[in-house]
Amino acid sequence: MKKILFSLLMMLTISLSSMATDTVIEPAEHVTSPAAPATTEPLRKSTYREETYQPLDFKDMMINFYHTTGINALLQPKEGVVTSQGKPMSAFHQSWGRVIMFGVTFLLFYLAIAKGFEPLLLLPIAFGGLLANVPIANIAGPHGLLGIIYNMGIANELFPLLIFMGVGAMTDFGPLLANPRTALLGGAAQFGIFGTLVGAYALSQFTPWFDFTLQQSAAISIIGGADGPTSIFIATSLAPELLGAIAVASYSYMALVPIIQPPIMRALTTPEERKIRMRTLRHVSRLEKLLFPLLVFSMIILLLPDAAPLVGAFALGNYFKESGVVDRLSDTMQNALINIVTIFLGLGVGSKLASDQFLVIDTLAILVLGLVAFSVGTAAGVIMAKIMNMFSDEKINPLIGSAGVSAVPMAARVSHKEGTKDDPTNMLLMHAMGPNVAGVIGSAIAAGVMIALFK
């Protein structure tokens, strides 16, 4: 553990010093430069540089160099420093804010590496956050590495869709097709989203500390869908200023599924209910699997075209996989493409961990509201299963209701694990995959509704 922290610290110092040396030419401007020849005639660039560079004695050179270091930038905040969006940056966000954010990114490194919390996304996000907080270099600015990545695929909502394509290519709709009824559990879990929307908006209406608009409330509440790409998709289109906090909350809670969900599931169910055995799933034919994505997509075309980008990408990935004739393409979507996009998506989101955007009171509210959204979604799924049991002879084990939040396949695994605690031979995993994939569709529909209302 100590080793990891130490190496991180080393990396930080190295990156800080290299950033500082990169920009060493800059101070030449505010050294006295009488009548630059550039105004008279356009010279070749190298000659021009030579003319503007003033010979200095070594002491001044050292002082000028010190002014370009990160140490100076962190210790002495200046007026007129701008954020990556070109707005003036407060002294706190320039100095202590950055230091706190370095701490936050180290905490995320720790969670990702030592605790194994969604490392595939948390690590790129955290490192992006580290880069975004480097002073002077402006990496998150429009011409920096992170800024370019952000504008390339997040500002225009491309990356989340590519991720969705890959997720589609990895999804097996078999369990859902074998027992379609369980899709309703995936619907109930979306109550986490809309319940939190009301909560967030109430918070800003009835308390003086928060001031979320309806759009911002909607973007925050999508965390309850427990679907990273969907959260990023919605946050980018409704409230890009909150993207960093929403993405971090969303992926952190997805990683925390095995900790957050079980207490809620146990509180809402009796031991008898947890022991319910479900009928073995029937075999699903290839034709059914092949037609299902098209069925879902045709319904989207008719009912909610605003969800078509998300569901379309998902259906595309799944259709390629089930067609069985383009294994190479589906294989690329499931592996190479999704991996590349994950790196870019993580770094781009990380650019929103800049101190001026993350260290605001809203972030705290987003983290709390996200947790509420997630818990409400879990509870709603379990309760829905109990309600369905009242009206049907074929009982559903309420533990699979919690899998309606879409975190695939983690939520389904949690259902299975909780089930085996009361009955070690009860195989719930495949049953829980049904509501799990329905949850993905459900949160895409919820997202579509938000887009339709607010666009």
Binding site: L176, P180, G442
Partner: protein
């Protein structure tokens, strides 16, 4: 303005459930149609590998042999009755 969010919640949950309920019924209908008109059996021979085809042929041959034997026996019986 607060009721605006309640309205969105009702509309949103309504849409999600309407969509998923429709999806459940459409899926059930689709599965029924597929199982009736394109049952899995039609797919089975296509995916059966060489090794599983061989025994099928064997049983066919057995049946052939049985048929030939039966025919012979019948022929023999007819001969003995003196009809031929």
């Amino acid at each position: 303005m607060f009721f605006e969010s309640i309205k969105i919640m009702l509309l949103g949950m309504g849409t999600v459930f309407l969509f998923l309920t429709t999806m459940v019924y459409m899926t059930k209908i689709m599965s029924k149609l597929i199982l009736r008109y394109f049952p899995e059996v039609s797919k089975a021979p296509a995916s059966v590998s060489q090794s599983t085809i061989a025994p099928v042929q064997k049983t066919n041959e057995n049946a052939k042999i049985a048929a030939i034997l039966a025919a012979l026996q019948h022929h023999h019986a007819l001969e003995q009755e003196g009809k031929i």
